[in-house]
Structure formats: structure tokens, C-alpha cells
Symmetry: C2
Subunit: 333 residues, 2 copies
Amino acid sequence: MWVEDVGEFPLIARLAAIVGRARPDVLVGIGDDAAALDLGGDALVLLTVDSQVEGIHFVRHRIGPRLLGRRLLAVNASDIAAMGGEPTHALVSLVLPPGLELEWIEELYEGLRAEADPLGVSVVGGNVARSGDGVVLDLTLAGRVPRGELLTRAGARPGDRLLVTGTLGGAAAGLWLSGHPGIRIPEGEALLARHLAPTPRVREGRVIATSRLARALIDLSDGLGGDVVHLCDRSGVGVRVYVENLPLAPGVAHVAELSGRAPWELALYGGEDFELLCTAPPPAAEALAERVSAEAGTPASVVGEVLPAAAGRWLLLPDGREVPLTGKGFTHF
Amino acid sequence: MWVEDVGEFPLIARLAAIVGRARPDVLVGIGDDAAALDLGGDALVLLTVDSQVEGIHFVRHRIGPRLLGRRLLAVNASDIAAMGGEPTHALVSLVLPPGLELEWIEELYEGLRAEADPLGVSVVGGNVARSGDGVVLDLTLAGRVPRGELLTRAGARPGDRLLVTGTLGGAAAGLWLSGHPGIRIPEGEALLARHLAPTPRVREGRVIATSRLARALIDLSDGLGGDVVHLCDRSGVGVRVYVENLPLAPGVAHVAELSGRAPWELALYGGEDFELLCTAPPPAAEALAERVSAEAGTPASVVGEVLPAAAGRWLLLPDGREVPLTGKGFTHF
């Protein structure tokens, strides 16, 4: 069997089974946004790694190295935020082809630093290797979360409300616009920025974690439609997503019209918005939304409810119909 | 300027200057074998990352995935050992081309586990991404070292003796034999194993660190001739290496003869032996060598002395001549 026929998540499950049992200091291992370790300090230590591969995640002549450096740090910081933590230390592994300009690497690092400094992250190490062909960037990010404030994908309970930060569909709309440079809309620049240089919701994650009101947390890298399935899998629950409540980024409806899709398809399945999705019991959910808005300056919206596992996973469409939610999008209804 | 014209170490220095100052919890940042962080626990936290790139570090049809998995963990564990620490947690980033067999990845992970289990290392996370072409494996390894036992490349002082664990030249001899499959010598299998699946000197590093007799420590990945220069650079000292005392791995003299080189050239510049090199003041150095031998079961040899910076860096050849030591080997004398 070829590895591309297995799929990312079944592959990870198979590999997790091979590596076997974990040390007792591992609170969260393979299968969440980051690992969580109890190394004896006041705070737990979080660890995550993510790659940017030329030709797969980026095209070298389409994204400047500075933006790419920011993006590399931002997508990893989002995984730390998804555990309720704040990022602290980064290691960068550069795999570089011959003929790459020194200036390109230096600008990449300037971008990294521009994103790292406001977050309080230090780059503490890394590695440089040659590639036969194409740039591969790997960033490992460590973070911290005080004991008792760790949030994972597990922990959601039936009756909880689903709460999402910010707005959805913006990155997907920006991606579409980047492929249609002739089309200009007023929100175009902001949407492109959401696509190229996402903002990790670290402050929002800290508000959610310190509130102690939330039960489960995940970041939205695959799109809410896919990521809520991961959360349900790990929590052992079902879900109903209220499609009408999905908070669309400004301009998403416009791009949806231009591209012939429903706006909520971009919001649900577009991916890479890097917002946070958490669950909390009903009265707490409203209070939590207000706190995120007041303390982090980011709106938060109730977009669904957690069901018992046996009740299944559903989308409540704007016209009142319910259709099964699958992680991969859907076309048949 | 192209990145390959800059050289690995000047490039790292330039990038380190860009990322700027570190958080106060960073005890050792860019430029040593691993970063060392004080995260409030009883032990300091070590972090390092290293890559294995297809076509650069390995040829897929020449090394089985199981051996490659062992190697991936081993070379990183050596960097943790080089700080006096023990490895604890690993993250694995897989960048995989289409058409790779699932079995290959599963065997890679079995190799990882075979190396990780005896060292007490848990694989706690990772990432899977596609590549356009070729496998890139990145492993991030965390480790621990009790406060007060951290050893770095800095700290060597004039008068210290240089002490090396185990034997040298074996990996280079194994590499040469792997390129000459028609040639068989009695030690061939052992030398090939040194090349393909090095043994990280974790126990030896712990003996050195707990003894509190050593002042500086580094692992030998580039070869003693290159790595002692890194140690001298970070410690601000000179050195005299006694070529006659270099402990040759069994069979190295034979391979040297077959390949038309001096045995000590393989020992000094072959690279990838993954032994440890430390410095200690004269009476302590002898005691330390005995302790490494008694407690870790590995011989340790005095192979040189630390000089003041102004005295320079020298090789004392078997015939009594002294020649300048450069990191890259030498041909003119």
C-alpha cells in the first residue's frame, strides 16, 4: 500500500501504535495539537512541530521569505494556543537546495523574528542541511501552560456549546483571490493577509485557559468542518454545527459568490483560518465569549452544540435541514 | 551570494545574529550541541533537532528503514549526551514523496522505537507532510540534565587534558567499505555498523557529567579534527592534539592501508563516530577516564591538551613534528 492511500490521520494512528507506551511524564502524546509534558516546573511544557514544504505549502516566487518566516512561526504558535498555552522557544530546521540566495534565508529569519518577538519566543537552535531539490522548513515550538490550565481535544461533553474565535473562511477566500489576481475587491488585501500570514490566537487561548470555563480546545487548521470531527473523535461525542451562526470574515460572501460556492462552504471547509474552537457548558459559554471579546479584543461566537456520541454528527443548514457532517466536506444533498 | 558558498557555521552565526537576544530562561542557545533551558524543574531541559535527507544523508535503497530510524534517533541522542544529559522525548517530522510504501514508514518507526526504548525516550508527536521529491526526516529530541551537571562547548581552560571516549575512525572506515562491497575484512561488519547505526554515548556522557570533573564537552559528528575546533572557538582556547594517542577502532588501520590514507586521517577527519570529547584538568582527567571505563564500560583516552588561545591549535604528529590544526583536514606539510 502506498503512503498517500492511507491518509494522514490513519497513518498517524498506525505510527502511534508502533511507538508504544509513553513515559509517565507525558500527559498528552501523539494525536493532539501539541504534546504536554510534566517536567517538574510550575508550568507544563508543550511541544509541537510543523513543516512548510516548497511546492506543497508554498511556491517560492509567490511568497516572500519574510512572510514565509512569519507563517512558519504562526502556524506552530497556533498549535500551542490550541492547548491553552503560550509559545516560548523555537528550533528551526532548514533543508536548503543549492543556488539559494543567502539574502532569502536572512529575510526568512527576519520574518521569524518579527513574529517571534511580540509573542515572547526565542529561537534557541536548529539545523542546516542540504536538499537535493526544494526548500523544507521545519519548526519545533515549545510552550508553557500553567498546571490546571491545560486544554486538549478531549474533554467535550454532551450539552456543551461550541465557541469559535474571530471569523472563518478568510484564508480560503484569500487563497482563491491569490489565484485570480485580476479580481479586486475591497477586502482583498485583508483576505490575502489571512491566507499568507495567519495570526495565531495565543492571547485568546490564554483567556480561554485561564477562565477555566472551557472543557476542550482545538485550533482550526483543516477548517471547522474537519477539525470539529477531530475534537469529537478525541472526546467521544457527537455534534450539531449551526451553519447560520458561522462568523464569516468580511468579503467571504463576495468571494463565495465570485467562485460559485456557498459562503459557509468556505467557512466550514476552507481551512487555515487558525481560529480556536472550544467547548463549554451553556451558561459558561456565553460568559466565556464575553471574556474573550473583552480581554483579547476578539469576538467569539456560539456555532453549535455537543451531542452524545450515539446522536451522531450533524450540520444544521440555514434552511433548517440537517445533513451529516463529515470531515472532508460534502457535495451530496 | 549563494547559501552554499557561505558555509554551515558562518551561516548559523549570521542567523543567530538576526534572531537576537534570548529569553532569560535560555542558558544555552544557538551554537552548542543542544539548547539548555531553565523551565523551573529540578533538571534543565535540553532541545536539539537534526535531519536525515534522502540523497544527502542516505540513499533509500542502500539503508533499510529500520536502520535509518535507529540512526535518526541516535544522532540526536548524541547531541543530548554532548550536554551531559539523557534524552527523554522525541517529535518526528516526516516529509514524504508520493509512491512511498506504508511498510517503509512503519519499519522506520520500529527502528526508532528499538533505539528509543532502551534510552527511555518516548515519541510524543510529530507531523506528516508531502514532499515533491525525496524523503526528509527531522527529529527533535528533548532531554534533561540535573542542575549543576550541564556541560557545554565553552569552559575548557589552558592546561586541561582532552579526553575522548571509545574509538575513532570506525564510521569513516565503514563508509569506505560500504562503497567497496567486494572488499571483506574481519572487522567489516562492525565497521559498517558504526557507519550505519552509531551508538550515542549517553551513559558515558552521564558519567562525565555526574563526576563534575569535566569542564567542556562536545560530541564528534564532524570528526575530532573539526569538532575540537568548535570546542576551542566556544571556549576561547588553543589546543595540541597528540595524533599518536588517537584510539583507532579495530580494522581502521587495515582500511586506511587499503584506501591509501594514514589511519589517523580517518580518526581525525572521518566524522560521524559520535564519540564524546571532554576536557578536564590533568589529575582529574586520568580519574575521569577510569570512571568512564569502570562505570560505562567504555575506554577513554587522553588525546591532547588545551593551550592558551595565543598558543594556537596544533597537531603533534607521530614523527614529532607539529602542524597547524584546521577544521577541514590538511594536505600541505
